[in-house]
């Protein structure tokens, strides 16, 4: 019976459900985990990479670009970084849309786009695909880590239905239930970025399938304020930096085991 209402994205089932949207959300819950923690002096994002392997060419990520490997964490604008879970191809399209929206805001207002407004722009687009027929919705959830002078540091989550919400710590993708309850236990008010990094690492190591964490499986980013300029500074960690961070938190792999980074 449900099948009859599957073929169109915009048709309610008799139970009042939009199956395609639910399927999109289901797809995301199998995607690589993305975790975000809001601290008083910054925001931390971590993401589990699914596309790995010895033959994957990651040479540019070592010192080119902004540090990300282009799978999970993207820089949207100076004051917002985003982590994506779901269909990477859909995410690329959304990231491009968000970057343009951010620049358009900068163009008309001469200020960085407020984080919530950027999330809203994307959600307006996503919502459209739950209502206008003929097309498939975006199979992507996003975590936005950002800063603006109106509400300082912020962390938002958005899903394929076009819903969004603000969080102190949250998670999307595989095992998000486990991660969420771990975060709920461990999160403390007024946590600092340094501790938030530790928390993210800890939760990540428990939710990911692999026993040892390494830069080939993990992307990592922080958003803080530059102490001199007082402007937001996004940092997407390079593979070597991710490994160094894991070592620091005693979660990295031991020296003798398989491939070396850097």
């Amino acid at each position: 019976m449900a099948r009859r209402y599957d073929s169109r994205t915009t048709i309610f089932s008799p139970e009042g459900r939009l199956y395609q949207i639910e399927y999109a959300m289901e797809a995301i819950s199998h995607a690589g985990t993305v975790l975000g923690v809001l601290a008083s002096d910054g925001v931390v994002l971590a993401a589990e990479k699914k596309v790995t392997g010895k033959l994957l060419d990651l040479s540019v990520t070592k010192d080119g670009g902004y540090g990300g490997s282009g799978e999970k964490i993207y820089l949207l604008t100076d004051n917002v970084v985003v982590g994506v879970a779901g269909l990477t191809a859909d995410a690329n399209s959304l990231v491009n849309y968000a970057r343009t929206a951010a620049q358009r805001h900068l163009f008309t207002f001469n200020e960085d786009i407020p984080v919530e407004q950027l999330a809203q722009r994307l959600c307006d687009l996503k919502q459209g695909y739950t209502q206008y027929g003929g097309l498939r919705p975006f199979g992507v959830s996003l975590l936005y880590a950002g800063w603006d002078p109106y509400y300082q540091f912020q962390l938002y989550l958005s899903d394929p239905s076009g819903n969004y919400s603000g969080w102190k710590a949250t998670c999307i993708g595989a095992n998000n239930g486990t991660a969420q309850s771990l975060l709920k236990q461990e999160y403390k008010e007024d946590i600092k970025v340094e501790d938030a990094i530790g928390l993210v690492m800890k939760v990540m190591s428990k939710t990911m399938d692999s026993t040892t964490l390494g830069s080939e499986k993990l992307e990592f980013a922080t958003l803080t304020l530059d102490p001199t300029t007082k402007k937001p500074k996004a940092k997407i960690y390079r593979p070597a930096e991710v490994d160094a961070l894991l070592q620091k938190h005693d979660l990295g792999k031991k020296e003798d085991t398989e491939m070396k980074t850097s």
Binding site: F109, N110, E111, E116, P149, Y150
Partner: protein, 178 residues
């Protein structure tokens, strides 16, 4: 034959505009308010082509109000000024441009600073400590002192004067007899 002035001080901006509504040699109104409060901490003095002025000022007023309702906070003076400039600049190269000159004064609650922007109908914008539009600018900009009122060829009988500071916008009575 219109004139508007503005000066900034520590933590405030004062705007003043004449109150005449005239067509050629006929003065039709002497109590016109040409300074709009665009929010709790934002003032805009406007002058220029009759008709365009009020139309454009209301367009700005309603749009800034809409943005405040959507985003739960008002635009900062800098962002509001940029938006107004963008509107004027786009309008300039449209089929029917607005001919409106603007002084925008505001108090930025985020960094506790008063800001004043001078803008003309071409979309020229500059951040200044004091500014003027109209024939008054020829006196005010070089002197900006008490000589302004005496030397003005067309001595306007009254001015609307409004202040914006940390406490918001308010009107001030100006004693024109001195």
């Amino acid at each position: 034959m219109e004139v508007s002035f503005a000066i900034t001080g520590k933590g405030y901006v004062i705007l003043a505009a004449d109150q005449n509504a005239a067509r050629s040699i006929i003065k039709m109104k002497a109590d016109e308010d040409k300074i709009k409060a665009l929010g709790s901490h934002l003032l805009m003095a406007y002058s220029g082509e009759p008709g365009d002025t009020v139309q454009f000022a209301e367009y700005v007023e309603r749009n800034l109000r809409l943005q405040q309702m959507r985003n739960n906070h008002p635009l900062r003076p800098q962002a509001a000024a940029s938006w107004v400039r963008r509107s004027i600049a786009d309008s300039l190269r449209s089929r029917s441009p607005y001919a409106v000159n603007i002084l925008l004064g505001g108090y930025d609650m985020a960094n506790k600073q008063a800001k004043l922007y001078w803008m003309d109908y071409l979309g020229t914008q500059v951040d200044v400590p004091f500014a003027a539009h109209g024939y008054g600018s020829y006196f005010a900009l070089s002197l900006l002192d008490r000589e302004v009122q005496k030397r003005l060829v067309i001595s306007f009988p009254s001015f609307k004067v409004k202040v914006v500071d940390e406490g918001g916008v308010r009107e001030v009575e100006l004693d024109m007899t001195v």
